[in-house]
């Protein structure tokens, strides 16, 4: 999952390197290598601005993942094991919502939370809370749609045995969620990847306020346009490293669990 902002940054850096094209009034960069060297310097020095942005990013995305797991996974399990009118339509909608553009989610949440909006009295627009809400809305359908698929496959295998034991529907959904927990880890990671890398929703509802709602992706977008490429690139490197480390850790846990529990 390549965050869009990183792609944009890459194009920009390439422009600098190959065409020496830099926006007027911006400090001239000597290219990717220099920027990368300075970026690693910032990371190694634990630059406080960088650390703040990284910590806020982690907090917002992790909170969104926890919330959307709590909503999306049981929802997926419910849709997988129950029959109700309109179930097929619900599955199509869930799958379609996986491709929800983050700016659209940002816009809708912005309209809801803005002063004139129905939830304007909460006064949480341009706060991390608003960002968590937007990201939760963004990734919950992904969690639900993907977990529905995994639970439905599991249900095929377990159905006769669980019905034979007389397990109730609600119990069945929880049993499957727990029994397929190692497969669901991948889904949670996919959700985290989407939350951590999206820029549209947090930009709109957070406002990218320095020290308050600035996260890695919005900072990268901003610093790139300002021409502070080392900071932007440093953030990009950290963002990739976090996603990579989480995936690697999850892989190790899943493989160990598979060996141990079968």
């Amino acid at each position: 999952m390549m965050p869009g902002c990183i792609q944009g940054l890459t194009y920009y850096v390439c422009d600098c390197i190959f065409y020496h094209r830099v926006r007027p009034g911006r400090q001239v960069m000597n290219g990717f290598a220099d920027a990368a060297a300075q970026a690693f310097g910032l990371i190694a020095a634990g630059d406080p601005k960088l650390v703040d942005v990284v910590m806020l990013s982690l907090r917002v995305s992790l909170a969104s993942v926890v919330l959307s797991s709590a909503i999306g996974l049981p929802l997926g399990a419910f849709v997988a094991v129950t029959r109700f009118p309109g179930r097929k339509g619900a599955i199509v909608v869930l799958n379609a919502l996986m491709g929800l553009p983050s700016v659209v989610v940002g816009l809708v949440v912005y309209l809801l939370l803005s002063r004139a909006g129905p939830l304007g009295s909460w006064g949480i627009l341009f706060t991390p809370t608003a960002m968590v809400i937007a990201q939760t809305i963004l990734i919950t359908p992904t969690m639900a749609a993907l977990s529905r698929q995994i639970i439905a496959d599991g249900w095929e295998e377990y159905r006769e045995q669980l019905r034979s034991l007389g397990a109730r529907k609600a119990g069945v959904a929880l049993t499957l969620l727990w029994d397929l927990r190692y497969s669901l880890v991948t889904i949670v990671l996919a959700g985290y990847g989407r939350a951590a890398s999206e820029v549209g929703a947090v930009m709109i509802v957070g406002g990218n306020i320095d020290g308050v709602t600035r996260v890695m992706t919005t900072a990268i977008a901003l610093e790139t346009s300002k021409g502070d490429l080392p900071l932007a690139l440093g953030l990009g490197i950290i963002l990739l490293a976090i996603v990579l480390a989480l995936n690697a850790a999850a892989n190790v846990v899943r493989d160990a669990a598979r060996r141990r529990y079968g």
Partner: protein, 246 residues
């Protein structure tokens, strides 16, 4: 505590099937089966592939609904009451938790109060010789051990009727022998056995009576000893000739 104390007084058996038909799409799998299964005896269901044996078992156990006809137990089975019948499948489906926890889960589903679950599960495990593996994750047990665990899970529920669908089909002779021993012990403890098998030796060893199915019809029903010595119908005779080459 003796689990028999909690059993409602009415017996599930006999089970009556009245003109049971089962279709899948346009294809008729069972053509009007009428029979009664009484308590006590061990019933073996045999017949060639596609005769409808497994479907018949699932209809009896309530995993499938008949297209027409009636499957009626002598005592009512309310939809959410603890089940008084159990089934063991060809490939056991075990949960990703310990052997013991698998049985505890089944006891929970069947409404056994929490304090009684652990002891009952442990005693069922030791009856099938898995007492030492109680804490082992169920899914990493060998095929034979997994099937014994599935039997222990069924036994812990103390069912009146146990349905088995080719429980030894994918096991080696030693493991299969162990399964037969356990099924025999459950029968001795008072459980009605209804078993589908492709293994004629097994049907002879375990069976009191035989239901012979052929192309979705119950062609012959006879005491096992008589059936194997002298089948009454040409279909059964041909089937046994093919299955028993001696």
């Amino acid at each position: 505590m003796n689990p028999m104390d909690m059993r409602p007084p009415l017996s599930l058996l006999p089970l009556h099937l009245e003109d049971v038909v089962f279709d899948v799409g346009q294809r008729r799998i069972l053509h009007g089966i009428t029979l009664a299964l009484d308590a006590g005896s061990r019933t073996m269901i045999i017949g060639p592939n596609g005769a409808g044996k497994s479907v018949l078992l699932r209809l009896c156990h309530g995993l499938l609904e008949p297209t027409s006809g009636r499957v009626a137990w002598s005592a009512p089975e309310p939809p959410h009451a603890p089940r008084r019948q159990a089934m063991v499948f060809q490939r056991p489906v075990l949960l990703r938790r310990s052997a013991l926890a698998n049985i505890v889960y089944a006891l929970k589903c069947s409404g056994v109060p929490a304090p009684a679950r652990f002891g009952r599960a442990l005693s069922a495990l030791s009856r099938v010789g898995l007492g030492a593996l109680a804490d082992r994750p169920a899914r990493v047990l060998s095929g034979g051990e997994q099937q014994r665990l599935a039997l222990a899970r069924a036994w812990a529920l103390d069912p009146e009727v146990l349905f088995l669908d080719e429980p030894t089909a994918s096991l080696d002779p030693g493991a299969a022998h162990e399964i037969e021993r356990i099924v025999g012990a459950m029968h001795a403890a008072g459980t009605k056995i209804v078993m589908v098998t492709h293994n004629m030796g097994q049907a002879r060893r375990l069976g009191d009576e035989v239901l012979f199915l052929h192309q979705g019809r119950l062609v012959e029903r006879a005491p096992a000893e008589r059936f194997f010595r002298n089948p009454a119908t040409p279909e059964a005779a041909r089937f046994l000739e093919g299955e028993l080459p001696w």
